[in-house]
């Protein structure tokens, strides 16, 4: 009984203290609101994963979850379902599923910087990451519809490039590297 009463008294005292703290913050505090909890509504790792491979109905699942649950959430099967819909065969399906899930942009920072480029870590033991000038659309289309991944695959002519190139852009050579706004 006494311990219960003591407990209730402590809880009440803490509650008053907490209310006082809130009140202080509300009366002109200028420090960041560090106790606010944020909930994820959007995410992106590799290019094309959600936008190309996933049906639109699955985009919400991708945006509201984290890479650690990508395999459990069936992301490899979603990639395979897309390539299978074009009859691209198991080599392409399984290779793309394995390099793109979990959906993080992999970087091997101690490999030569000259080998940097999207998926170069998988294709050529390179640095990986993604450069501004990487034509990831053509890289992705070539992997899915060409012979980049499977030399024996049938090439689906007309789908291996969107016929626009990053060579028409002039990325900067110094930080932050992006072209000035138009």
């Amino acid at each position: 009984m006494r311990s219960t009463l003591l407990g209730r008294t402590l809880v009440a005292a803490l509650a008053v203290s907490a209310l006082s703290a809130c009140s202080d913050d509300d009366n002109g505090g200028t420090s960041p609101n560090v106790v606010r909890t944020y909930n994820q509504i959007e995410r992106l790792g590799n290019p094309l994963v959600s936008e190309v491979f996933f049906m639109k109905r699955d985009h919400g699942l991708h945006n509201s979850t984290a890479p650690a649950t990508d395999i459990a959430n069936g992301f490899p099967d979603k990639i395979r379902a897309f390539t299978n819909s074009f009859n691209r065969g198991p080599t392409i399906a399984n290779t793309l599923a394995s390099v793109l899930v979990p959906d993080v942009l992999l970087v091997f920072p101690n490999r030569a910087g000259s080998t940097a480029g999207w998926l170069s870590w998988a294709l050529a033991d390179g640095y990986g990451g993604r450069r501004l000038q990487d034509d990831v659309v053509d890289a992705g289309l070539g992997a899915i519809f060409g012979r980049v991944v499977d030399p024996a695959a049938t090439v689906l002519t007309g789908l291996t490039s969107d016929n626009v190139s990053t060579s028409t852009r002039t990325y900067q050579t110094t930080f932050p590297y992006l072209e000035n706004a138009r």
């Binding site: 609101n33 560090v34 944020y38 936008e51 919400g60 990451g129 501004l132």
Partner: protein, 205 residues
């Protein structure tokens, strides 16, 4: 190419994530683009959102380090940004809070801040770096077509292939970009030749 809510609120939209060697072999640049194609000359970042770049350097697809980027309520070039990190996240996964430890860099939107030998930061309006014939892409895969905006309406006939020449659809458009450059050693858990880390970006509210 997003959920209906994000399509209706393009400032919630991450367009692309980049990671590439920086100004020297020992440095790495991380770039996130958002809000294209609606970012006009006076576009501002949403002060109610938390923009993050996450890094997993232990291979379990869970973030070990984060950069947390927030904005005040200013508009255009009068807006200010705060970059926290790299720092261990207070929480991992899809919920988080602002870190109370680690490096903090602040600056005015549209300008570079920090140090060329330490952490260098930028947030502001830049040209969208992405290149794609987006219109024809949606004609080939109509399911991915957005539910609002000019691309919600099919422009050409359903297509089975890309066109020649293609149309550099995003060339006229700008993006609200965040860029961070720092020594790569700050992100690595090991100096081994095959050391690796994974990078992704999120927006939270």
């Amino acid at each position: 190419m997003d959920t209906p809510e994000v399509e209706l609120n393009p400032r919630m939209d991450i367009n692309d994530v980049y990671a590439f060697p920086g100004s020297s072999a020992s440095r790495i640049a991380l770039v996130v683009t958002t809000s294209s194609p609606i970012a006009g000359a006076t576009a501002s970042f949403d002060p109610n959102l938390l923009y993050q770049i996450k890094v997993d350097n232990t291979g379990d697809a869970v973030e070990d380090l984060v950069f947390q980027v927030t904005f005040d309520g200013g508009e255009g070039g009068n807006q200010r940004y705060t970059v926290r990190g790299p720092v261990a996240p207070p929480m991992t996964g899809t919920r988080t809070m602002l870190a109370t430890a680690g490096t903090v860099v602040t600056g005015r939107v549209g300008t570079t801040s920090g140090s060329v030998t330490g952490i260098q930061t930028f947030a502001g309006l830049k040209a969208d770096p992405f290149v794609i014939d987006l219109e024809q892409f949606f004609n080939i895969i109509p399911d991915r077509r957005p539910s609002t905006g000019p691309l919600a309406v099919q422009v050409g006939p359903p297509a089975g292939s890309f066109r020649m020449p293609g149309v550099d659809f995003l060339r006229p458009f700008n993006t609200l970009a965040i860029a961070i450059e720092l020594p790569k050693s700050a992100l690595q858990s090991s100096g081994a030749a095959d050391a690796r880390f994974g990078v992704w970006s999120t927006i939270s509210r």
